[in-house]
Subunit: 220 residues, 2 copies
DNA sequence: CCAAAAGTGTTCAAAGTACACCCATGA
DNA sequence: TCATGGGTGTACTTTGAACACTTTTGG
């Protein structure tokens, strides 16, 4: 079993999600070279010889895409190893899911709504993106990850619009407010308020220490 | 970026869980050769040149471990790529989680209770096992996966003991019975009964078509 | 004043919890 | 008969859903 072990290249592909204009959106790049030249794809990079998977994912997020480290959330999603997924040979993709506040897109990449099902991304990236979106939808139910889509200080209404965008469903503002503020550690109140452009100013909150939600916040 | 791409071996490592004598147990092998010769480890294999990841995991389960295909549940868990995790060089492990009914251990492998924290498995298998156990615990809450730990026909009490073993908590038999039989598609009743050795005979059920549980069955 | 958005109170229905109680078997 | 485990009924508590209502701003 020593000489006959197959070798693979390992790519780290990123499903970077944000909520942009109340729409769940994914960061896509246009591929420069073959294969799939000119086709939209998830941003990715090959893992280096002495590099950890998590580090490669963080490197792609920070260096290549120019996004700020420390903000947002990054977690491993799944691995994809169909022998035919890359025409160049055996490449296993380790996909990562990143959730970020709505920023301007870094150069060379752009935000695209997740919704249209006729996406036609390169490689098996359509499936990876589907898996990432489903993971994000599921995790909003039982974790406080929604706050990762928000800037450091946010209102309860902003947070609610995150849920509505990710789930594609409306959420009752009144009950949502009580549920969120009543769950210990989900959000922490500041003493600051928005200067109301329309209506009563809203209190600003920051992300709380809790990571899991018990009981969960169920989508219908 | 063509000549300088690092290459890796890919191992598929299996966290095979079962409930054996009311105890959540994992299938371990004793390593034959270096590295970690003689040390307990998760069963695993290298992925072949033209092999899909899922297929390699199924192959390991069926061929190497002699377990019956079709029974039980197999899903990808996560990937582990610390550069130092294998002294032989860069090996990325794609871990899979398998849930099986309580069978006799295949030759060369044996069941070990998951509980003791001083396990000292080879490689980073302690961490992989922890992740697998946590995944199993979490999934019992919102899926019907517990039935995968049971033989084709089982009683509600057997199913309840699965939950108790996996969660390490007691569950009220009466309320559990109602919850399980009242959730559409979780289990389907047969017209057969156990021949009661002690007490009233219990109706036998088979796994139902539902995969997710709404509302979930929460551990306290 | 009105419109709009934030936030609270109240009511009703659904689900979980606790536990009394009955059923069907072996010994 | 009793002991044992299977299964049902029911009262109580907790949680979520719906929505009327008050608060605080801008125009």
């Amino acid at each position: 079993m020593t000489a006959s072990i197959a070798t693979f290249a390992i790519a780290v592909d990123l499903v970077v999600l944000t909520v942009h204009r109340d729409t769940l959106s994914v960061l896509l790049v246009k591929r420069a070279g073959e294969p799939f030249a000119g086709v939209a794809a998830l941003p990715g990079t090959f893992v280096g010889v002495d590099e950890d998977l998590d580090r490669a994912a963080a490197r792609e997020l920070v260096d290549e895409l120019g996004l700020v480290r420390g903000e947002g959330h990054l977690e491993q999603l799944a691995s994809y190893g169909d022998p035919a997924r890359d025409p160049r040979g055996r490449v296993v993709a380790v996909a990562y899911l990143a959730l970020l506040p709505g920023l301007s897109a870094p150069s060379g990449a752009s935000w695209h709504p997740v919704a249209p099902k006729e996406r036609a991304l390169a490689f098996d990236h359509d499936r990876i993106l589907d898996d990432g979106v489903e993971r994000a939808r599921a995790k909003l139910e039982y974790s406080s990850l929604a706050a990762e889509f928000c800037p450091p200080e946010f209102t309860i209404a902003q947070l609610r619009r995150i849920y509505e965008a990710v789930w594609g469903a409306t959420v009752d503002p009144r009950n949502f407010h009580r549920k969120v503020t009543g769950t210990p550690g989900f959000v922490t109140a500041t003493d600051r308020y928005t200067d109301g452009d329309r209506g009563r100013p809203a209190r600003l909150y920051t992300k709380g220490p809790a990571t899991s939600l018990h009981p969960p916040l169920l989508r219908r």
